[in-house]
């Protein structure tokens, strides 16, 4: 019991351990308060799992845990709200308590409305299809390009590679609003307004993805493996797909998730380039419904906006759960001896 790790101070625990004879002597005046506290701490470590958090004091750990817990509630509250209110009628959304259920239960009625063109401005199911298409093409493209570029930056030294990489990173710093006008004018000239490619092409460029892949390749694809493959007579393309890519899977899946989520949730770009309702993704479509519900007297759209929002996030949660199993370490086990 003197072997207490990362909890309290070891000297105090040792003192406590040295005083077993006094243990039953509760309230004895000759016991100092410090010794009591030390004994209590030592006793606790015997019964509970010791918490180790960078050697922080117990009070600090409790405070941080509380803060994290509050933040978790803060982020989960809107999701709880949307789940609860997706079961309500239009009137109940406004008239009943927002964080509890109310009769009648109209979840399935609301859900069926998503497949109908209620006010003649478009159907949810079509926007859902659009979003899926944009996200799959854009996300897959961004992931592929990030993997190629990240691998290239990490494993080839060519003239200007550093400058190019820093330029890529610098692109992160430019706010998208600053690009609105030039982007729109370019699109108009290039006939990309209302075009699928207008949405997909910019989505395929992901500076974050490139950066992530570069870092990931650096730590997960040893140069020796690439050297070995070269000496084994493999061409660079073959090395990438057969040797490097299998080791890049966790990073690859991370970038895939980030990119798909980014396209799925993108509001600004589609708002800018699409002015035909049937081309809208979910974000813009729901925005249109929300605006019409508030300003054009189409109040029957409110429940649809709520359940539409809920259905929008379900595929992302599913994607996260599916990709989760690819995040694992140890891919290099057995390859490189240290």
């Amino acid at each position: 019991m003197t072997d207490v790790k990362g909890r309290g101070d070891p000297a105090a625990s040792q003192r406590a351990a040295a005083l077993p004879g006094l243990r039953s002597d509760e309230g004895a005046t000759r016991e100092g308060r410090a010794a009591k506290a030390a004994r209590r701490r030592a006793a606790e470590t015997e019964s509970t799992i010791p918490v180790e958090l960078y050697g922080l004091r117990r009070g600090t750990v409790t405070l941080l845990t509380t803060l994290a817990f509050l933040f978790a509630i803060f982020t989960l509250v809107p999701i709880a709200w949307i789940v609860i209110n997706s079961t309500k009628t239009q009137a109940n959304i406004f008239e009943t308590f927002g964080f509890w259920f109310a009769r009648p239960f109209s979840f399935f009625h609301n859900f069926s409305l998503l497949f109908q063109n209620v006010d003649g401005y478009g159907t949810y199911i079509q926007w859902f299809g659009n979003t899926a298409l944009y996200a799959v093409l854009g996300g897959a493209g961004a992931t592929a390009l990030s993997a190629f570029a990240g691998y290239g930056f990490a494993r080839f030294s060519f003239r200007g590679s550093k400058v190019l990489f820093y330029l890529t990173i610098a692109a992160l710093l430019v706010p998208i609003t600053a690009l609105t006008l030039p982007l729109y004018l370019t699109y108009a000239k290039a006939h990309l307004i209302n075009s699928l490619w207008g949405m997909v092409l910019p989505s395929m460029i992901s500076p974050v993805g490139i950066y992530l892949m570069r870092v990931y390749v650096d730590i997960s694809v040893p140069r020796e493996l690439i050297d070995a493959a070269r000496l084994d007579g493999a061409g660079e393309t073959r090395i990438f797909f057969r040797v490097a890519l299998p080791l890049m899977v966790p990073g690859f899946m991370t970038v895939l998730l980030i990119s798909v989520v980014a396209v799925w949730n993108n509001y600004f770009l589609p708002l800018l380039i699409f002015n035909i309702n049937t081309r809208y993704p979910l974000t813009v479509g729901l925005g249109l419904w929300s605006e019409r519900a508030q300003n054009s007297g189409n109040a029957q759209l409110f429940p649809m906006v709520v359940i539409g929002g809920l259905v929008t996030i379900i595929p992302l949660i599913a994607l996260f759960l599916i990709l989760q199993r690819y995040w694992r370490g140890g891919l290099l086990l057995g390859s490189i001896a240290n």
Partner: protein, 384 residues
């Protein structure tokens, strides 16, 4: 015929560091050549240039008559065993072995035949379906070897392939590597920092220091006739004792002065070092060439005795100054807390029954014919 010839091979890194300086080396067909030297001596750089993984600053690498400086590693047809194996972790042993053959677009039947043959040579038959992570260190090492063997390459390169194995397995794999070499008869360039490996494995051994070739010879010659102090102290274990010495004539007898002691030299030995009469030189004697004597000889204080069973290693100090690198190393250990005055500056391998005790005094018989002499300025061997 020369399978690999390196001529004036030089590597200067962008930082200005000269990793390899004008290496000339010829590896004949079927020869097993070892590149040995302390870490940072340029041996791995040399090997990587032969493989094509490192760009040549100047000089040439030739396979046969063909200069391959500008041939990519992919097209050089060399097989290499890496220090850390570099196995493809997601491929099975079979796929690891077959990867190079697949790249050659070899037919499946021939590929399988070769994989089976290589697996048989290395005893991997039962492991073909396993992934590298399911193998022991020794098995991984065999797969790394097998990956090179299946290709039956003209040139075989090995970069410290045994350094990650434990001592026992390393000794076992040494003979295994040689067995494989004999069955393949491919010109092999083998890099190691371990002089024992170099001596036991190489047909010829090239000793490198600071990017410069010190000597290229058979292990026997390296041991018997080292070209300079570095080779003399690097080859042989335990290392040769080297001391600063003087050469005088007392009466008509030439004598070697070691600190306060004098050793008479017979005429034919004296003739070898005649040019150094009255000057300083470096004298060396191997630990195994010292024996306890009851007559005259080199008197030393015994500091420490290590009994190994078949022999005992006796650390002693004589009142002569250690020469060159050996002295620097002794200084370091003295600074590390060992009292400089009592630090041993020599070592002898003696019969365990010789009765030498730590703290005692011993007289070594020194056979002058077994002494090595070196120039104190250049370090070069004298009279050979």
């Amino acid at each position: 015929m020369a399978a690999i010839s390196l001529s004036g091979l030089t590597k200067v890194y962008a930082t200005g560091v000269v990793a390899l300086d004008g290496l000339d080396l010829v590896v004949d067909d079927g020869e097993f050549v070892v590149l040995v030297g302390p870490s940072g001596c340029g041996k791995t750089t040399a090997l990587r240039m032969v493989a094509g993984l490192e760009r040549v600053t100047s000089g040439t690498v030739s396979f046969g008559d063909r200069v391959v400086n500008d041939v990519s590693p992919r097209h050089r047809d060399v097989a290499m065993v890496f220090q850390n194996y570099a196995l493809y972790p997601h491929l099975s042993v079979r796929e690891n072995l077959g990867f190079a053959l697949e790249n050659k677009k070899m037919e499946r039947a021939e590929r399988d035949r070769r994989i089976r043959a290589a697996a048989a040579i290395l005893g991997l038959q039962d492991l073909l379906g396993r992934k590298p992570r399911q193998l022991s260190g020794g098995q991984r090492q065999r797969v790394a070897m097998g990956r090179a063997i299946v290709r039956s390459p003209a040139v075989f390169l090995m970069d410290e392939p045994l350094s990650n194995l434990d001592a026992k397995l390393r000794v076992q794999m040494r003979s295994e590597v040689l067995r494989v070499h004999r069955s393949l008869q491919a010109a092999t360039l083998y890099v190691t920092h371990d002089q024992t490996e170099a001596m036991t494995m190489g047909d010829r051994v090239a000793v490198l220091q600071d990017g410069v070739l010190q000597q290229y010879d058979t292990p026997r010659s390296l041991y018997a006739a080292p070209a300079n102090v570095f080779v003399a102290t690097f080859i042989g274990s335990p290392a040769m004792n080297v001391y600063e010495a003087g050469l005088e004539t007392s009466g008509s007898v030439p004598t070697l002065v070691l600190g306060s002691q004098r050793l008479n030299l017979p005429p034919q030995i004296a003739a070898r070092v005649a040019a150094y009469q009255g000057r300083k030189l470096i004298a060396g004697v191997r630990p195994e060439d010292l024996a306890v004597s009851s007559g005259p000889g080199l008197v030393a204080d015994v500091r420490l005795v290590e009994v190994l069973g078949s022999e005992q290693q006796v650390y002693f100090s004589v009142d002569a100054t250690q020469a060159g690198g050996a002295a620097a190393a002794a200084d370091e250990s003295a600074q590390a807390g060992i009292l400089a005055a009592s630090a041993p500056n020599g070592m002898a391998r003696l019969d365990p029954r010789s009765g030498v005790r730590a703290g005692g005094r011993v007289t070594f018989a020194v056979d002058p014919a077994r002494l090595y002499f070196f120039d104190p300025d250049t370090g070069r061997a004298i009279g050979r």
